[in-house]
Assembly symmetry: D2
């Protein structure tokens, strides 16, 4: 009850919960982020800084990535950091900065929520609410965003199986919110040359088992700025519905994750290359 | 600032946050759970059912494990389950049952908190508040239990490094609560014959780097009832300060984790064997 | 001595042995497999059955994959199988069948060698000698193929780090044979929905650190026939120099790995799609 | 054919090959290493240097570990090293030194074989032939030691499942040699504070599924000298049939693995503690 066995693929031994499960001939669900459709023919590019730092940083970065073709702006106001002594984000002030840029530049924003008590606040500012990797099995938070009216970007836990990931999405849908985008962002393995191991096979697997759209985060997935373009292209070739990347107007001075953030020019050039790959798989970008 | 490099062990490359860090010749911190000291000469045994199901189940199990020598009763009222369709726990009713048993049998209780909004409620009933594996990097929850006056049992995330685990404990201590017990409960690896891979080397490693007491959960660590005794003994031989085990008065009908729960007689016999190992490492149990 | 630190990438902490290491502005080494150049502008496709089974199977498969654009024929005569009761390959008879097809169809062949005592024999038949994943750290075998005059296809161990992989290649080159092709074929992780986790980030990483050409094996990397096309495309987008795939004229009756082998028509259609991706990254296939 | 499903444990999903499989009420097979019985009531301690370096080093170490209670001397003549530029062992000269010490001190020796062509040579000197982790799935080597008359110490691959490990043992037995000792030596996980993650749950699991004796290598399993005593004790508490440890008469100058080798005094003291644990589980050491 509530789950179905996977009978489309005899060789994949997974029990898929019923609401995220893809039915016979079902198309990818289109998630509408304030006018931007994720899951359709267009490959949607999300870009922006790891953390919102100040107005200039956010505005300059947002203006540039939008001009280059990004459709949704990312930026963290509440930051989950391994150490309590690392920069924890600007909090509500960060949300307000995001909101100003949203209005001035007319670009939807996605930002993370980390606490059930903040869901209402974050929902008031964001067009798309992010549940981060470390909270993928924070079931209280999943239920709370499931009660929200805003679409949700659910990142795969760095230790989560495909089955657990789909069950986490089911927690959200089960509360009445079926606007969920799945995001592969790298899993933890024995390999240490990259920050995580980006599991691109998760893209076709998730799209085969579920009707939800799937995007990829090569910035966290690799942790290496120079590797982001390679993996962004590979993600689109594997038929991801979008790519989310960290871009900063000056990565050298970023308060967070500068080593994995693209500069504005790098991002602009990359967009042209991504367009070529999208075309090769019958998708569009710009 | 806030962290120190590990210079005691040139061969361990870890940056340890300052408050959890063990200073020269520092002894293990004793955490006092309503009169029961964890971190001293005695190896403390925690036992009880995975989930509180009803009064009979909890009371019969508690009475028996106490008689066998367990010092702290475990039992979940709020249950983190991978699927939204699995039993989610009795909630507040479960807390009240725990509280009744606590008073009748005079045994301290530990139970899990999953939501920042529940910390006050759970603190009112529990003697020791548990933060589970899936919430080890739920930083909002860590901060909230750090503000509580109750001691905290922090379980290692199933894919958390030793460094991340110690940083999670630092989040709690940094809010003013230094009564933290660390719990190794198995990590996720490629091996599938056991539910997780119990990393017993974490016990000497954590005790070498930090002054906090360390206990082991062989029930979740192995997922196999028959294997629990072997790993409980090994944990004590590796100098764990305690062992936490799932025990049920009738594992065959348990609503949760019955396959890894010991029956009452098995537990009673095991306690005798654990006592022998404790003695062999100059510790006591009963 | 013999190794250099990686100073091109401050953020990659790897010690690279000197002969596999890429020098400033060094281009990818071209490995010449009996006239087919691996490492140049062309993305080289390797295809064929997991194991050589009989003349008809090998000949029909080879003829078809060649017509579809594959440039090198794969086929195992000595098979490394987890169980001693599984089909172990045709041995020398398999090598002779490969040799016949090679002459009739004029397509170079790659086949695996598993024993130092077989290197001379296999070298007499193969155009490219494969060292499989399970033997990546069989140092005696690496030294022996290093003394051979034939180019070597070295597959990454399923548990091998990038650093270990490059050191294994160094063992070969250090014996005088610098014609080495590296192959990413999936690593072992906690995820079980795929046979292994194909680590495509290994492609840009290996090409950044080393001058050796890099190919990808999506058949073993995923273990799922339907997923091979997605990952083959992604591999080329990530700038692999080649892709090796299992193709069988009748996957349903294959003695080995039929569930991950493409049929002849599937392969033929896929080649057209791979050509589009190759073009999008300024490479060619046909 | 050749394999049986595991019907003793409904909760362990493993297919066990028939000859390694434990039958109803079957006792642990006793492997006789030139008079020393492994698999009986006594917990057998194996000790000695990582690599044989010279006569003095080997003789002094051997004399001391024997006096402390070790029953089998370990020492590598052929060394599997990740880098071709690391010390590769003394080869035949090392075997001769081992043989001299064997005769003078009357202690059986175990040493590694890495190449099918060396099996005859190594068998002529060793009382117990070791197949190392990196060669656990070198099937040619497994078959060759299976034809030998000498008992075999088979180390688990660092990323081998229990099922693969038992199948590797089956390869040996299937050639007619049923004198096989299994050795858990740490698996590769995401955790980097220890060299590997010692999987002690493998001990009860292997002994439950198979009749072969199981020993543990805490030296390679942890890579940290100070941690070896903790894990050696835990291994015996988990009912290992033996422990193999690296001991060197002067770890500071060891050519290989000095950081994980115990000094002679440390080893001597540890033996006393191991005896107490052995007694607590009804086994003996001295």
């Amino acid at each position: 009850m509530g789950t179905i066995s996977c009978n489309k693929l005899d060789d994949v031994k997974i029990t898929i919960p019923k609401q995220v499960s893809k039915k016979e001939n079902q198309k990818t669900t289109i998630v509408n982020v304030n006018g931007i459709e994720v899951g359709g023919k267009e490959v949607v590019i999300f870009a922006g800084p790891c953390a919102v730092e100040n107005r200039e940083q956010l505005f300059e970065t947002a203006k540039s990535v939008k001009a280059s073709g990004a459709k949704i702006l990312r930026g963290g106001a509440f930051k989950p950091r391994s150490s309590p002594y690392s920069f924890q984000g600007l909090g509500k002030e960060g949300l307000e900065l995001l909101s100003h840029v949203n209005k001035e530049l007319n670009i939807p924003i996605v930002t993370e929520v980390m606490d059930t008590r903040q869901v209402e606040l974050v929902s008031a500012y964001a067009d798309l609410i992010q549940v981060g990797s470390r909270n993928m099995q924070n079931f209280s938070l999943l239920k709370e965003v499931g009660k929200s009216k805003k679409p949700v970007l659910l990142k795969r836990g760095m230790m989560a199986t495909i089955e657990e990931f789909l069950n986490a999405a089911e927690y959200i849908i089960n509360q009445g919110n079926d606007q969920v985008i799945l995001c592969e962002r790298g899993i933890r393995t024995f390999e240490t040359s990259t920050r995580n191991t980006l599991d691109l096979s998760a893209v076709p697997m998730l799209k085969h088992l579920s009707h939800l759209p799937v995007i990829v985060d090569p910035s966290h997935g690799t942790g290496l700025r120079w590797m982001v373009p390679f993996m962004a292209k590979a993600a689109i070739a594997a038929e991801a519905d979008g790519v989310i990347m960290e871009v900063h107007y000056n990565p050298e001075i970023a308060l967070c994750d500068g080593h994995q953030s693209l500069g504005l020019n790098e991002f602009s050039k990359l967009m042209v290359e991504l367009g070529k790959i999208a075309k090769a798989v019958n998708r569009t970008i710009l």
